[in-house]
Each structure stands twice: as structure tokens, then as C-alpha cells.
Symmetry: C2
């Protein structure tokens, strides 16, 4: 059962409900968290046969706005669609949650209500980026933490490595550290200190990588702080849009490669449960894809709970 935050996202509730119904039509059971009457009316008007699909409605009368301060919103709006959807994963009623809502609030709610895994201080948004090397690279953090310490990046490296090992069935994935040069001495204070931690770890550490290396697929996982990761992700999306403006025939080829955006959603790693973050501007297709991803990821979730960080 996948929990869906009906009221989250720039085009909520319409687009979220469309995506959720499409997933239910493919036999994925969904629980829709939102104002009961609103959701019931929408379904009855738009999909009169909705009762024949695995759809449940749970009343959540409050809504967290996209620009609300995260901690205050999560603490005060306990009846919001976002908080109730997250809480359903903590209580095991649902196996995963997806939301295109306020990503800060989703992160805070996940950490506070579901809780963090042992040894992990911060959740990180992870996403597979396209490469010319034939396999995508998992990059994290893509925006959950604008301020990071070396220990956070060290934890992200373990989380990303475990995720790739499980999801792509690739043991000992090669881990790179995003920097502005290859040499060990290159980078910010954060990257230099993180380099030392990763070098001394049990991970399969490649060393520093520049965006060139990442997009050539030289590694399997890339770690960075959420500010740099977010700039990288949004630059990638923006430049793809620019290229499509120059040549519209590129659009189909890019969609095939999944290059236009993090398709559907991105997992929030480090929490004790499956949380999928969608773009605020997610389309119905993105929502449907995120629900499929949540469904597939949560099935294999037992494995991911066994992560134990080696001592440093």
C-alpha cells in the first residue's frame, strides 16, 4: 500500500490524483491522503469506476504550502496530507510514501516521524543521472542539506553505495566525491576532509570526480552537499531544455535516456522507511512513475535496513 500526499505539488490535487489513479489501474494499491470530500468528489466525477481499483481515501483536512517553514509546519499541521501520509509509513499501514509537496517539510516529517536509520544523521535525496557510459550514476545529496559536514557526506557515501548494490545488484559500487579537480588536494575544506574519511573507509572509493567524470559514468555513486547537488541537477535539466530548443527532435531521444529530469521521483535515503520525493512541478506521469518506484523499492526494503556503518 503506497501513501500519496494528494495536496502536495504545484499542480495538486489534479495531477497527483490523475497519477495515483493511473497507478491503481495497474494494480498498485494506493492510499490517498487529502480532504475526504474533495478527493471523493474528484474521483467520483472523474473516475466513476474508482471503487473497482485498489484505492483508499484517508481524510487529511490540512495542507502544508510549498513555501512554509518546514519544522513549524510539520509540528503544527498534524492533520495535513503530508504529515498523515508520512505517519502511515511509520505505523506500517503503508509501505512507502510519495509527495510532490514541500520537500523540506517532507524531509523533516520523515526524520521526525519515521525516524533515521542507526548511524545516519541526515536524510539525503538521491537520483540516478544519465551518463554516456551506458549506466546511470546515483548522485546524492540533490538538495535536502545545503550545509553538510564531512561525516554527513561519509554517511551519504555508505547509503548510496548500499542503494546501488541493492537496486542495480552491483556489489562494491565505485564511489566518487564531487570536486573541482581530480587531485586529492582539490576542492573545498568539506571535500578535502571528506576525501580523507572516504579514503580510509571500507568503501570502493575512486577519489575526486568532476562533472565530466560523472556524466561519462566513471563511477557508480557520487556524493556532494545538497547545494552543489541541487545546482548540478537543475543545471542538467536547464541545459537539456536549451538543447531541445535548438533541436526539437532531441526531445524523444532525451526522454528515452531519462535525461530531462529525475524521472518520477527520487528516494530520500537514510530514513527507516521508503520515502519518494517528487519535483514540485511533477506531471501525472511523474506521480505514476514515483508510485511504481515506491512500490518496487519498498518490496526490497528489508535488505536496506541492515546497513551498519563500519567504524572509522
Amino acid at each position: 500500500m503506497i501513501a500519496v500526499d494528494v495536496m502536495g505539488g504545484d499542480f495538486a490535487p489534479d495531477v497527483v490524483l490523475q497519477g495515483a489513479v493511473a497507478a491503481a489501474q495497474k494494480s498498485i494499491p494506493v492510499t490517498l491522503f487529502g480532504p475526504y470530500d474533495l478527493v471523493y468528489q474528484w474521483l467520483t466525477t472523474r473516475f466513476p469506476s474508482w471503487h473497482t481499483y485498489p484505492i483508499t481515501i484517508v481524510d487529511a483536512p490540512q495542507q502544508i504550502a510549498m513555501d512554509e517553514e518546514s519544522v513549524a509546519a510539520v509540528r503544527s499541521k498534524t492533520q495535513s496530507s503530508l504529515v498523515k501520509a508520512v505517519a502511515s509509513v511509520a505505523s506500517k499501514e503503508c509501505s512507502a510514501v510519495i509527495s510532490a509537496g514541500n520537500s523540506g517539510a517532507l524531509m523533516v516529517a520523515s526524520a521526525l516521524i519515521i525516524g533515521m536509520r542507526d548511524g545516519i544523521n541526515r536524510p539525503a535525496i538521491a537520483g540516478f543521472l544519465p551518463t554516456s557510459g551506458g549506466h546511470p550514476v546515483l548522485a546524492l545529496d540533490l538538495g535536502a542539506n545545503t550545509e553538510c559536514r564531512p561525516n554527513h557526506l561519509y554517511q551519504f557515501a555508505h547509503l548510496g553505495s548500499e542503494y546501488v548494490a541493492n537496486m542495480v545488484n552491483k556489489p562494491a559500487p565505485l564511489v566518487g566525491l564531487l570536486s573541482n579537480g581530480h587531485e586529492a588536494g582539490k576542492g573545498s575544506v568539506l571535500t578535502k576532509e571528506t576525501y580523507a574519511l572516504l579514503k580510509g573507509s571500507s568503501l570502493n572509493f575512486y577519489g575526486n570526480v568532476e562533472p565530466y567524470d560523472l556524466f561519462q559514468g566513471k563511477v557508480d555513486v557520487v556524493v556532494c552537499d545538497g547545494f552543489a547537488g541541487n545546482v548540478m541537477l537543475k543545471t542538467m535539466e536547464s541545459v537539456v531544455s536549451l538543447c531541445i530548443l535548438l533541436d526539437s527532435s532531441l526531445k524523444g531521444k532525451i526522454a528515452d535516456k531519462g535525461m530531462h529530469t529525475i524521472r518520477g521521483g527520487a528516494p530520500l535515503l537514510g530514513v527507516k522507511g521508503c520515502v519518494i520525493v517528487c519535483h514540485g512541478g511533477a506531471s501525472a506521469q511523474d506521480i505514476e512513475d514515483a508510485i511504481s518506484m515506491a512500490y518496487n523499492t519498498s518490496k526490497g526494503d528489508e535488505r536496506s535496513k541492515t546497513l551498519i556503518l563500519p567504524e572509522k
Copy 2:
């Protein structure tokens, strides 16, 4: 007279000399800094008519390697092509210098030998990035300073604003601050504190911008620390390469738009003289373009020396 660091760059001296000769053939006077015999032999063998062009050779027997520690290299190798080329700008023998060599060493040499402008603590690499809005956006810093304080970004904003005002003849350019969201509260500690400085300044401050806004041309100048700027620049270049792999017909269209790379070179702003930084992997065409840029920029350089930072 443009000073050229003959021994700087991944493909030096061949590519640098080819580019310099091409510029001289277009009547731009160049002074080539490198081992005298090597440069003389190369010119005499490859361009026997070189005496008929405005080319001067200055002996500089030492070479700074691409991965040498910057400060130590600049201090110890006073007879290197890089240091002597930079010194020729400080002594006014040349009006500008271009180098595809060790960019850290170029930055250190420029700051130490030419000196910083009043009120500016750090040089910044600036480059025009392509947009869908019809005009390029000047972004800085693109990699000179991996660690920045708010005051540095504040200075970069003034330098970038002045540069665009002078080079594109656009008074009061709109200045954006790179962040991971639009709201004033979004971003790292650095961006939040810089936001307050820029908001209270005499600049035409737009507010926070995400890469989407930048690549749509919503502002004229974008400031960021050199780590984020470098990630953005290299992500742009990598994604363009990926798109070209998908559709080779894009290559010509992208070259027309100047999207593949910072064409030629990027000015190092904040120093009391004209310094152009080229990619380590610069082609002969890039070197020629950088020399043209240096020639054109240095002609208008009187204006840029009048910058006075308003009090905060």
C-alpha cells in the same frame, strides 16, 4: 601587446603557439613567453614568415606544471612563462595576459604581482553562459575560490555588474544570487548572508536565482562561490556533450550559440589589469579567441579601473 604564456595548457606549446600566430596574423601584437630557443625554432620551422607579423619572443626558461601547488610555484619559479607573462602586465609592457596553464598559479601570480583592485580581496573567474532569453548571463566565480565569505560574493556582484555594464553597455545590470530556491530564506548560510548584503546594496539586485532562471536569462549577472560555479560550468559542458552524442547535428547549432564551453577564455576580474584564463584543454582556436578577447577588453580597461565599492 598581449602576453601569451606559451608553456601553459594540456597541449602546450604547440596549440598555444598556433593560436598566437593566428592572432598575430590578424594584426594583434603578441609577446610570447617561453624558452627562447624552443619558441624560435618552432616559429621558424612552422611559420618561416613569422618575422613579418607583430610577434615578440621573451625568454622564460622555467615552466609551472598543471598540478603544482600555486603559491609555492609562483614564489619559486620567477623565470617561468606564466610568472613572466603576468609580470609584463604589472610593468605595463603588455596590456593583457592569457594563459591556459595552472589556473591556481595564474590567480596567485595575478593577485601578487599585478595586485588587487581597491576594495577587492579575491579575483574571480567570470564567464558568459548561454541562455534561451537571447542574451548571455555573466556568472562568477567559476572556480577561482572554492571557499567564499559573503563579503567576497558581494564584491563579485559589484565586479560582474561593472563588467557587464562596460562590455555589453548595459547600465544597472540585474544581479542574481545562485541558490537552491527563490525565497530569501532558501540556500546555504553563505547565500542567506550574501542575500542580506546584496539586498542592502546599490546594485540592481533581483534576488535568489536557480539554474533554471539563469539559463532562461532572467538576470544579467549571477554570483556564486567558485565550487558551485565550477560544478555548474562543467555540468553544462558535460550535458551538452551528452546531447551531442544523442544527436550529432546539434554540434553546429551549439557552437553557434557558444554553448559548448566558455569560448576562448574567461576574464579574471578583480585584478588591476587584464588577465584571461583559458581551459587547460584549450584548442588553438580558443587561444586565438582568448587573445582577441584580451585585446578588446584591455582597450576598454580604463573604465574598469574606476570601480569604487559603495559603503555598506
